[in-house]
């Protein structure tokens, strides 16, 4: 399967292969997901806007249905039955109500073997291409709660707990979705509490390495609780919603407001992210 989206850690190899496996009955190990290789993939736009599952997913399932139709037609020929009597189950095409069956792989082999696809005008091969143009956006929503503690003596902010409840529609792979939430939350927390690009008076970047640019690290974070509810999205056949950025949207607001709430109790009326120790301490001095 060649896809025009790009995977760089979001688990497309797994989730997209699942879409194909669920529909064809093929083993996950036999499905290769190819992306990001301009020599093999004809066109693509990459991945952005939490849209890979939502936009690419339906194109995948559409292409799957077309491939299955072609294969069913050929399986009918091989099993000497009517196409309408052929069922696809567990990776096999079966004549309904009988134990006559042929494996998907055997059909695929015939589709590319001279003479294997019959003589009655059937098109050889199983390849299909599909595109999907989403009719409108998806609207994931949720509520995130961050609890922070600030040490007034040092200005250090500690994230104590983080709970995220999101509605991301139908999830292809809940474990991957949970990982996306965790990753997004950490990125958002980084933005709220530590990450900052700084330049000196001459325009030189002074946060040019991780010795000065603070990335969130596992040790600085609590365990993140992620719960989900699922309302089907109406704008795509999978019912999926964008998940990748859900955490990054919510976390800066949740963590940033938690910091502001704590500082407000000490009389601070305005505070801009990020809540680095120095900035928090300065805000407490200035009140």
């Amino acid at each position: 399967m060649f896809v025009g989206t790009h995977n760089h850690g979001q688990g497309h190899e797994t989730a997209f292969a699942q879409l194909v496996s669920e529909r064809t009955g093929l083993d996950l190990d036999n499905i290769e997901v190819v992306f990001g290789d301009t020599r093999r993939v004809q066109r693509g736009l990459g991945t952005f806007g939490s849209r890979s599952a939502v936009v690419c997913g339906p194109a995948i399932t559409l292409a799957c249905e077309r491939v299955i139709d072609k294969a069913r037609n050929l399986a009918a020929h091989m099993l000497e039955a009517a196409t309408s009597d052929i069922e696809l189950k567990d990776g096999h095409f079966t004549v309904a109500g009988t134990d006559h069956r042929v494996a998907f792989s055997a059909v695929a082999k015939n589709a590319y073997s001279a003479g294997g696809f019959g003589e009655d005008g059937r098109e050889p091969g199983l390849d299909e291409t599909a595109f999907h143009d989403p009719q409108g956006f998806t609207f994931p929503f949720g509520a995130h709660i961050a609890e922070v503690e600030i040490d007034p003596a040092t200005g250090v902010t500690q994230l104590i707990s983080y709970t995220a409840v999101d509605d991301l529609g139908v999830e292809i792979n809940p474990m991957i979705v949970e990982g996306q939430i965790h990753g997004g939350v950490v990125q958002g927390v980084g933005q709220a509490l530590m990450e900052r690009l700084c330049h000196d008076d001459t325009g030189q970047l002074v946060t040019g390495s991780f010795m000065d640019y603070t990335m969130p690290r596992a040790a600085a974070l609590p365990l993140i609780t992620s719960e989900r509810i699922a309302t089907r999205a109406q704008s795509n056949p999978l019912g999926a919603k964008g998940a990748g950025e859900a955490g990054t949207f919510a976390a800066p607001a949740a963590a940033g407001n938690a910091v502001m709430d704590a500082l407000a109790s000490a009389g601070v009326t305005h505070f801009d992210m990020p809540a680095t120790p120095l900035r928090v301490w300065q805000a407490l001095q200035a009140r």
């Binding site: 003596a153 040092t154 010795m211 000065d212 120790p277 120095l278 301490w281």
Partner: protein, 265 residues
């Protein structure tokens, strides 16, 4: 990184001879400071003389009331040493706060104090405990060893061989780490030693320094309150994106207070 010649002597004499014969030599221990600066072409030595094969630089021993740590000893080994944990737990604690696992598994005591980074942790323990730096040719008292920003009393070809730390009555180290690098923004070592109370501060200035006012206050009353209101002047303190100088001065007080609490257990 530019090309260089690499030597691995097994004795101090050989190391010094190689140093004398080379154009622009540098000793190499853990390499966690020297190699990154070579990669950035900030250092371009003609010859690297690695000290890790010299057995006499390794190991930790107890000599009377002193814990003697070889210059080639890795931070991780100091942090886990049963001898150090028993005699000077504050020193093991400090070594365990340096950088991360990778850094502690490579970086050495000798490399750290020869480099004399203003944000390094060991200088606080050396000055705080009134330790003695031993070299291939002499012994240097803690108060004379660190002279300025990245400057020490060492001569050009002088090799640190060990540091002798006197066992204190009690001691503790508190570190406020740089949130990105984990180096000390401010580190305060407080110790009650045979020769009196010592308070040593690293990270805040160009080089480690003592706070005599705090030492005097703790001599009268070894309690957190004794230092809680002592604020050091911030004129000569470091100032950067992570910590302005007034914040550093404030952190010295906070860390000193917490170090006293920790020393009292």
């Amino acid at each position: 990184m530019y090309a260089f010649s690499f030597h691995q002597p097994e004795t101090l004499e050989e190391a010094k001879r190689l140093f004398g014969e080379s154009d622009d030599p540098r000793y190499l221990s853990g390499g966690h400071t020297l190699l990154p600066s070579m990669k950035l072409r900030l250092a371009t030595p003609s010859d690297l003389i690695e000290l890790n094969a010299i057995e006499s630089l390794k190991g930790i021993s107890i000599e009377g009331d002193n814990v003697v740590v070889g210059a080639g000893t890795r931070h991780g080994d100091v942090a886990q040493s049963a001898d150090v944990l028993a005699a000077i737990p504050a020193l093991a604690d400090l070594a365990g706060m340096i950088g991360d696992f990778q850094v502690r598994n490579r970086g050495t005591l000798g490399g750290s104090i020869a480099n004399a980074d203003p944000a390094a942790d060991y200088p606080a323990a050396i000055v705080g405990l009134n330790a003695t730096v031993k070299t291939d040719r002499r012994e240097i008292a803690a108060d004379d060893y660190f002279t300025d920003l990245f400057e020490t009393a060492l001569e050009e070809d002088e090799i640190v061989t060990a540091v002798s730390f006197p066992t204190p009555v009690r001691a503790a180290y508190m570190k406020f780490p740089n949130p990105a690098s984990r180096y000390a923004i401010v580190g305060v070592f407080v110790a009650e030693t045979a020769g009196g109370i010592r308070v040593a501060v690293t990270g805040a200035g160009a080089s480690v320094f003592r706070v005599v006012e705090m030492e005097a206050a703790l001599t009268v009353n070894f309690a957190p309150e004794a230092v809680a209101d002592i604020l050091i002047p911030d004129d000569d303190l470091n100032s950067d994106i992570h910590a302005a100088n007034d914040y550093r001065a404030h952190l010295v007080t906070v860390m000193a207070k917490r170090a006293v609490e920790k020393a009292l257990g």
